[in-house]
């Protein structure tokens, strides 16, 4: 089955909505719709063509119904998988499966959030917890404390330093400075990160992703139909998913994420390995994410992520371009970021990334993360030449 999925579907349209801070009068679903219209437009399609809908909105249990009604989409296949920020990479996988099975032909993956504007008007994205908590009484600040506990353990076991983590933030900022759409574009140094206020040790405010508004959309269709559409198709070559825990106290090993499994599945389906990847887009909710994911995705050995990211290796001009849009740390982070890994990977493979373009990029890896290092979803995308 997996052999049949390689190259069966392609991304044919991507777009962000307005990002940053959109103000109190616009809702998450407005941003989702704005992105959907633009992504369908560049694909040469309309909402009338969409027969598969994939979406998740934080706190909206029936998001696909909200979005379909708003857009006037009449899907024959709907997937509201909600595994946190990785949901949209999961949707990409599921869309390819549905297309390959004939369950739909034009899939729209869409997201919107007003996480930044919500904070100023008392709108809460998430409802009250529905399950008993064995963590809340100890007042972790989630999600940062979950990632901080993993970072502290990684530092303890492998000698990773706060300066190594700071290198991740600096690399993301240097990419963001090349991206006109990025939210944070002021110069940033390792010293700035180390001097920032510590929120949940070892992580400071500058080890944390932004809180912005924003939406995104991705249009996926069959390889056959993709070749008739305006933009060069970006094929899904491999995908894999895995999760082992929800709460950080249930994570089997604080220094190893299920990205080891999700990426193994994606590489196997795609028939490629980490050394073949030209550009990496991964979910950097916190600086430790980039370090641990580069290990778990196979770009370096476990424990070597800190050394790997130092010296500008993942920054502009480095050996491995990572998060070329500036990532969740400096480009945008509207509650859930996963869809933006697909959007940037697609632009890199089309050669549309402007000053941040990796010349000749043929293979990209997009990796989503959800929960607290919980859900891991890896997608490998390629140009026509990689089929």
């Amino acid at each position: 089955m997996t052999g049949g999925l390689r190259g069966a579907a392609a991304v044919v349209g991507v777009a962000e909505s307005d990002l940053g801070e959109v103000g109190p009068d616009r809702y998450a679903i407005d941003l989702a719709a704005q992105a959907a219209a633009e992504a369908l437009g560049e694909a040469g399609l309309t909402t009338r063509d969409v027969d598969g809908l994939f979406c998740a909105i934080a706190g909206r249990g029936m998001a696909p119904l909200d979005v379909a009604e708003y857009l006037g989409v009449r899907p024959r296949y709907t997937d509201g998988t909600m595994v946190g920020g990785s949901s949209f990479v999961s949707h990409l996988h599921h869309a390819a499966l549905a297309i390959a099975a004939g369950a739909c032909e034009v899939a729209l993956i869409v997201y919107g959030s007003t996480a930044r504007s919500d904070s100023g008007r008392g709108r809460l994205a998430m409802g009250p917890p529905e399950l008993p908590s064995y963590e809340a009484a100890y007042r972790p600040r989630m999600p940062i404390t979950g990632y901080a506990l993993a970072a502290a353990r990684h530092m303890h076991e492998y000698g990773t330093t706060r300066a190594d983590l700071a290198e991740v933030a600096v690399a993301a900022r240097r990419w963001a400075m090349l991206n006109p759409k990025a939210f944070a574009r002021d110069p940033l140094t390792v010293e700035d990160v180390l001097a920032a206020r510590v929120v949940s040790s070892p992580l400071s405010t500058l080890d944390c992703c932004l809180v912005t508004d924003g939406g995104g959309a991705v249009v996926v269709t069959s390889a056959a139909r993709a070749r008739d559409l305006p933009r060069p198709p970006v094929y899904l070559l491999g995908a894999g998913e895995a999760h082992r825990h929800r709460s950080i106290s249930q994570m089997p090993d604080l220094t190893v994420t299920a990205a080891t499994e999700s990426s193994e599945r994606a590489y196997a389906m795609a028939g490629v390995g980490p050394a073949d990847i030209d550009v990496v887009q991964l979910y950097d909710a916190f600086t430790i994410n980039t370090v641990m994911f580069l290990e778990d995705l196979g770009f370096c050995a476990k424990g070597e992520g800190g050394a790997f990211v130092s010296g500008g290796r993942i920054a502009p001009g480095g050996d491995l371009p990572v998060n070329t849009n500036g990532g969740g740390l400096s480009y945008c982070h509207p509650g859930m970021y996963g869809i933006f890994t697909i959007i940037e990977a697609t632009r890199q493979l089309r050669g549309e990334a402007g000053d941040r373009q990796r010349p000749g990029a043929e293979l990209a890896l997009a990796h989503g993360n959800g929960g607290q290092f919980s859900s891991q979803v890896t997608a490998i995308l390629g140009t026509e030449r990689t089929l």
């Binding site: 100890y138 972790p140 970072a151 353990r153």
Partner: protein, 127 residues
């Protein structure tokens, strides 16, 4: 025996001053948090047990609220083989270290289980 209301079972035992966890009668796994089936093997045969309260700090993060004193959040591996989130109450937050041996105490009002640091000389003297 099958536990149909595991959170209630946990709270009731915590109120008695114990540190409750479950032990799978089929595979022997220590299970926390309390459940209706064993996450290691799927058996519904879970017996309540309680910990002797001794464990080791597996990780620690110190939180620095803008308007309150710093406090540690820890993950503790209890000697019986399960991990909990908790806090350490007897030493300054920034002195809690990974690898510290700790002892559990039940705070009935929380209700919650907190820890104090064990040292070679006794408890809580490292501050």
């Amino acid at each position: 025996m099958t536990e149909l209301a595991p959170h209630r079972g946990y709270l009731d035992r915590l109120a008695e001053g114990t540190v409750p966890f479950q032990r799978c009668t089929a595979c022997g796994a220590a299970v926390f948090y309390p459940r209706a089936l064993c996450p290691a093997c799927g058996s519904t045969g879970l017996d309540w047990s309680h910990s002797a309260g001794l464990g080791t700090v597996h990780s620690v993060s110190v939180l620095f609220p803008r308007d309150a004193p710093p406090y540690p959040v820890v993950l503790v591996d209890l000697d019986e083989g399960f991990r909990v989130m908790s806090t350490v109450v007897d030493v300054p937050a920034e002195q809690v270290r990974i690898g510290d041996r700790v002892r559990a105490h039940v705070e009935p009002d929380g209700p919650r289980v907190v820890f104090t640091v064990l040292t070679g000389d006794g408890e809580g003297s490292r501050a």
